[in-house]
Amino acid sequence: MPRTESHPDFLWSSPEPRSSYDVVIVGGGGHGLFTAYYLARNHGITNVAVVERGWLGGGNAVRNTTVIRSNYLWDESAAIYEHSLKLWEGIQEELDYDVLFDQRGVLNLAHNLHDVRESVRRVNANRLNGVDAEWLDADGVAEFCPLINTSKDIRYPVMGATLQRRGGIARHDALVFAVARAAAALGVHLIQDCEVTGIEVDSGRAVALQTSRGRIAAGRIGLCAAGHSSVVAAMAGVELPIQSHPLQALVSEVLDQVLDTVVMSNAVHVYVSQAHKGELVMGAGIDPYNSYAQRGSFHVIEEQMAAALELFPIFARARVLRTWAGIVDVCPDASPIVGPTPVENLFVNCGWGTGGFKGTPGSGWVYAWTLAHGEAHELNRPFALERFETGALIDEHGAAAVAH
């Protein structure tokens, strides 16, 4: 359990902002911190600031349910998420920090013939993309995770599941501490309580940020403000095909360990894991309306509980300790946008929807490359804003659906 003793004596200092940086990252969440870290680590660019409106990691970084996997359908997605998963696999050594990254496997259950077909399709695509993936039939599911109700007489019986054994979970706040510390140690300025109020654009080129802590000039600006992507981009006159919605999640109290894998079901709307501390962590549905309020409606939680008990009757007496919501920025094709904008020197990394946490190292890695070179890396080139114009979408609704 990561509490005081397991964290290092020192994490980061809080410097006053300089008047100018080579690169300024807007948003101190997982994506922003990893971007800053990799700018310094991979590209030697250390005159970098991360400006954060509140506290580092205070947005979706610590509101998500920490599921990590890379078993996406399309080649473009598999490539970027698999790159991210590979980084995850070395993250504890890389950052010298125990973030409780645990490859306990991720099951995606299939409950009807359509699910089965799509699951098999995804497993086969994953394997050909070098991503580990297995298809389990219902007996295989029962054997792998006996806690799941695989009885044939439930409303939507389990017909099988995809399994990515390399998938798993990690401790989100430890990850924030780890990356922030590593970035700060390389000279990155972490500037909290610093709200961006404007982006100065001069002749089509972004030159500086106006912030609650003064003007900060920047060679390049990387927007990384999930939950506020549209708002921040609009400051530079950039419109994004993004809608922001509350996504609720919940935890139970600390319970004896009963569930040793991650279980997700699109059809029954469940995704659940048990954290190392012992609490059950569950994602609920997205509230349908646009919102920046970080709270959702109660019926979403009630429906979530009914769904959870359909698959896990043993959870009946577990108790909901806390519910909360993050704001997810969703793209029309359920895939992110990572790359240049029509404004020179202004870049955007957004639209990870419900699945950003797993992508943070990979996202930071390619975004740092993009900010260092001024153009997209081959891994994020398909995730360009232009795809909405050409129609070359990366439609991951099938693989993403409600569940991450």
Partner: protein, 845 residues
């Protein structure tokens, strides 16, 4: 040691109850809580703490309890319940303490928990003084009032329009004064109330918080106000109490209990505690400026009071504003939300001023800020020294305030001490966010009746009972149960499907097609409306005729398909795919109402009003003819895609020559309540011809042999009509929704995936649906060029076959591709998607 006094208290001494704690019998009275009974018996429900394994006991008299969390075992089962909030039921309470405070899951909950919806003018949460007064006032002016109180004491508010709910906690406050209550109906059962209130009065009181000093976690140290509650309400009191306080409320308790007073405001503090039998032996008291100079003060229990925190959960769930009150050292409401009031001590009224100073001298590693999570002052100091300045970071570094008790008694101390360590004012670091639920709620209670059969409705057709009688195996399609296949004797699915297919191709077979969505489109502009939505023209359709159609989203991707029958100039009956019926109606209504309100069209879902039976096969005419003697069923008299109204065996029906199999076929539609009779009538007529029932699997095989697509199987939201090779259905003459999108850069790419047939080189190999295809048989990673969308054994072809979406597929017929699978790589030849009867010779029988 605590003990029960000879008299007093709100307990019924005339009656005795037995409680079992860790298997040991404890005696109690009605009116007791588990905690008061345990204390009366001289115990503390002692357990060990989560991390340090330190002994801990009851520290409060309410739901804020951080230490005495027990596993209730009977008469219901629940983990980590605050013992002071457990009312002793009339029979059979058993509970056990939980070493390390980890709850246990004990299986499913058979109890049926309710849900109820209520509206009221005023919802009062909390029936203390302020809440009772507010409720009476509202009742007095004739308002509909609901009063909810978490305790089990009677509430004294009367009135015709007053609903008093005791044992009821308001667990969450949501937009527009929607408040969720959880009421305990019996030990086993609870009811969730969804209350929409005109006004919400938050009268939830205040929690006392402890002082943070070395040894403050030992059993025997409890909140001063709890000592008063145990004495006055439960007649349980210590023998030699002491009280350590920084405010007058604590002093007041000390007077009531005749306790030794250690008053921080007089410069005295506690620097250590000593365990004794049944609680403490003594506390070490020292001048605050000379902590080493301690004296030993004997006492068995130490009441502590570090001030009070208004209970503002409901206010904060909706981001009600708060401000730091320096004198009373707590957050108080800074105005209320629209339609809400915070009253009484929840608003800070009557709370005592407290002495300044949060960091007390002494061993910081023994001074507990959060008893539940075992967080000490030393932990907070380490967090601050690590560079953390946000209380949210401190919380995550130390886990302070994150326990099962929601950190109720810990949060303010944690923020204020952190602030002091940071050299800031107590209120400046803010406080961590409060989230629903106010108290933990079991999953099963929230799930309510939506369990088992009631998890999601089951939709069945009027003919369902017949399918069940015949031993059909069902497939879930959306909420529908559709017959998948009808195994006979020991047949497996493959055998059953081959038999059903053969019947349809060689004799006659029947399928229940009632689940297809059906929308009645009426109005003078009906044809124009459908013209705008469908890829092909509908205005040219003659009355009495049908036409297959496709529908796209605005992005040009195939959304749905079906058949539209023109019943009159101004009336069409259109079908949708089974799973898409609701979405298609939504889609059509959206366009009609929001884009084309000038069109005079009405849309009505008639899916469940009608039952449809498909009669398929070369003998279909023979089956039907005796039932419709006056109807000319010949190919000329009743051509393909024609429709006629007719009496079928006496049932008013519509017959349409629609075929999703390539065979001669009639779809017979009747009002839903005649569906079963129709089926039986048709069946009886078909028996001489060996009529066979077939399910969705056979339907899929028959249509795939003909290269007909299933939306959602061949398509996945990324497929255009042109990708399906269905240029013939895409009107060049007129516009339709999605047409323009077909001319985008990506949708006009030459190397898009296109629908093809696929013949495995080994005719016995059935490729799995979802198999990916590659050009070169090599080890992964490999570039995929497509995937198998449908794959079957074909009775008609005498071999396996598949449909697939393949890059440039339409120009690659005859080429070989490979399906690499875990069990091996299988070559297959690309073919035209229409593998059976490409001339369409069978359609007319």
């Amino acid at each position: 040691m605590m003990r029960r006094l000879a008299g007093g208290g709100l307990i019924d001494r005339s009656s005795k109850l037995e409680v079992r704690v860790d298997g040991v019998s404890v005696s109690a009275h009605p009116g007791d809580t588990l905690a008061s009974a345990a204390l009366a018996a001289g115990g503390w429900l002692q357990s060990t703490s989560t991390v340090h394994g330190r002994p801990r006991g009851i520290m409060s008299a309410g739901a804020e309890e951080a230490s005495a969390l027990v596993q209730v075992e009977a008469p219901w089962s629940e983990p980590l319940v605050a013992a002071p909030a457990v009312e002793i039921p009339l029979q059979g309470l058993a509970a056990s303490t939980l070493p390390g405070l980890r709850g246990r899951l004990t299986g499913d909950d058979e109890a049926r928990h309710d849900r109820r919806h209520a509206h009221c003018d005023v919802l009062v949460v909390g029936a203390g003084q302020a809440g009772t007064a507010a409720a009476r006032e509202a009742a007095g002016r004739g308002a509909r009032v609901i009063v909810a109180d978490r305790d089990f004491l009677p509430v004294d508010v009367d009135g015709d329009q007053v609903t008093v709910l005791i044992r009821t906690t308001a667990v969450g406050s949501y937009d527009d004064n929607f408040v969720v209550l959880v009421q305990r109906l019996s030990p086993e059962r609870r009811r969730v109330w969804h209350v929409r209130a005109g006004e919400v009065v938050i009268a939830t009181g205040a929690y006392e918080r402890p002082l943070v000093f070395p040894g403050n976690d030992r059993p025997g140290v409890m909140l001063a106000g709890a000592l008063r509650t145990y004495r006055e309400r439960f007649a349980v009191a210590p023998e030699r109490p002491a009280v350590f306080t920084n405010n007058d409320a604590g002093l007041d308790v000390a007077r009531t209990l005749d306790a030794i007073v250690i008053d921080l405001r007089r410069g005295r503090t506690v620097v250590g505690t000593e365990a004794g039998p049944g609680g403490l032996a003594a506390v070490l008291v020292a001048p605050i400026d000379a902590p080493a100079d301690a004296e030993r003060v004997e006492c068995d229990v130490l009441g502590v009071s570090g001030g009070f925190d208004p209970v503002l959960d409901l206010h904060r769930h909706r981001r009600g504003p708060v401000r730091w009150d320096d004198r009373r050292a707590c957050f108080v409401p800074d105005g209320a939300l629209p339609g809400q009031r915070v009253v009484g001590s929840a608003a800070g009224e009557g709370l005592p001023e407290v002495a300044a100073g949060w960091l007390l001298p002494g061993e910081e590693a023994a001074a507990y800020v959060d008893l539940h999570r075992d967080v000490t002052v030393a932990d907070l100091r380490r967090a601050v020294n690590a560079g953390l300045s946000s209380i949210e970071h401190v919380k995550r570094y130390t886990l302070a305030g994150t326990g099962a008790d929601q950190g109720r008694t810990a949060k303010t101390n944690a923020s204020a001490i952190s602030a002091e360590l940071l050299g800031q004012r107590a209120g400046d670091v803010g406080t961590t966010t409060t989230r629903p639920p106010v108290e933990p709620v079991p999953f099963a209670v929230l799930a309510g009746r939506a369990r088992g059969d009631r998890f999601d409705p089951v939709r069945t057709t009027p003919i369902h009972d017949w399918h069940v009688e015949q031993g059909a195996v069902f497939e879930d399609v959306g909420q529908w149960k559709r017959p998948w296949f009808y195994p006979r004797d020991s047949e497996d699915m493959d055998a059953a499907v081959l038999r059903e297919c053969a019947a349809a191709r060689e004799a006659v077979a029947m399928m229940d097609a009632s689940t297809l969505g059906k929308i009645d489109v009426q109005g003078p502009d009906a044809a124009e409306f459908l013209n705008r939505l469908y890829t092909n023209a509908m205005d040219t359709l003659k009355v009495g005729r049908g036409r297959y159609f496709l529908m796209c989203r605005a992005d040009g991707m195939v959304f749905d398909d079906g058949v539209a029958l023109r019943l009159a100039d101004d009336r069409f009956l259109t079908t949708t795919t089974t799973g898409n019926a609701a979405a298609v109606l939504d889609w059509m209504e959206e366009w009609l109402q929001t884009e084309w309100p000038d069109l005079r069209v009405h849309l009505t879902s008639v899916t469940e009003q009608l039952a449809t039976v498909a009669v398929v096969g070369p003998r279909a005419r023979d089956l039907l003819a005796p039932l419709v003697p006056d109807l000319d069923l010949s190919a000329e008299g009743f051509p393909f895609m024609a429709a006629h109204d007719a009496a079928v065996g006496g049932l008013a029906a519509r017959i349409a020559r629609v075929s999703f199999s390539g065979e001669l076929a009639f779809e017979v539609t009747v009002p839903g309540f005649h569906g079963l009779e129709l089926w039986r009538t048709l069946w009886a007529s078909g028996e001489p011809f060996g009529v066979t029932a077939y399910g969705t699997e056979t339907m899929h095989v028959l249509r795939a042999e003909k290269g007909y697509v299933i939306v959602g199987q061949e398509t996945d939201g990324t497929v255009t009509p042109l990708d399906l090779g269905m240029d013939w259905i895409v009107s060049k003459a007129k516009d339709f929704v999605g047409k323009r999108a077909l001319r985008r850069t990506d949708t006009t790419r030459a190397d898009r995936k296109q629908l093809v047939g696929l013949l495995p080189i080994d005719p016995h190999v059935r490729l799995p649906e979802g198999a990916q295809l590659v050009d070169v048989d090599s080890a992964p990673p490999a570039a995929m060029i497509g995937h198998v969308t449908s794959s079957y054994h074909s009775a008609a072809l005498g071999r396996t076959f598949a449909l697939a979406m393949v890059r440039r597929g339409s120009e690659r017929h005859g080429e070989t591709v490979y399906a690499p699978l875990p069990e091996g790589t299988f070559p297959a030849t690309i073919a035209d998607p229409v593998l059976f009867d490409p001339q369409g010779a069978r359609r007319d029988g």
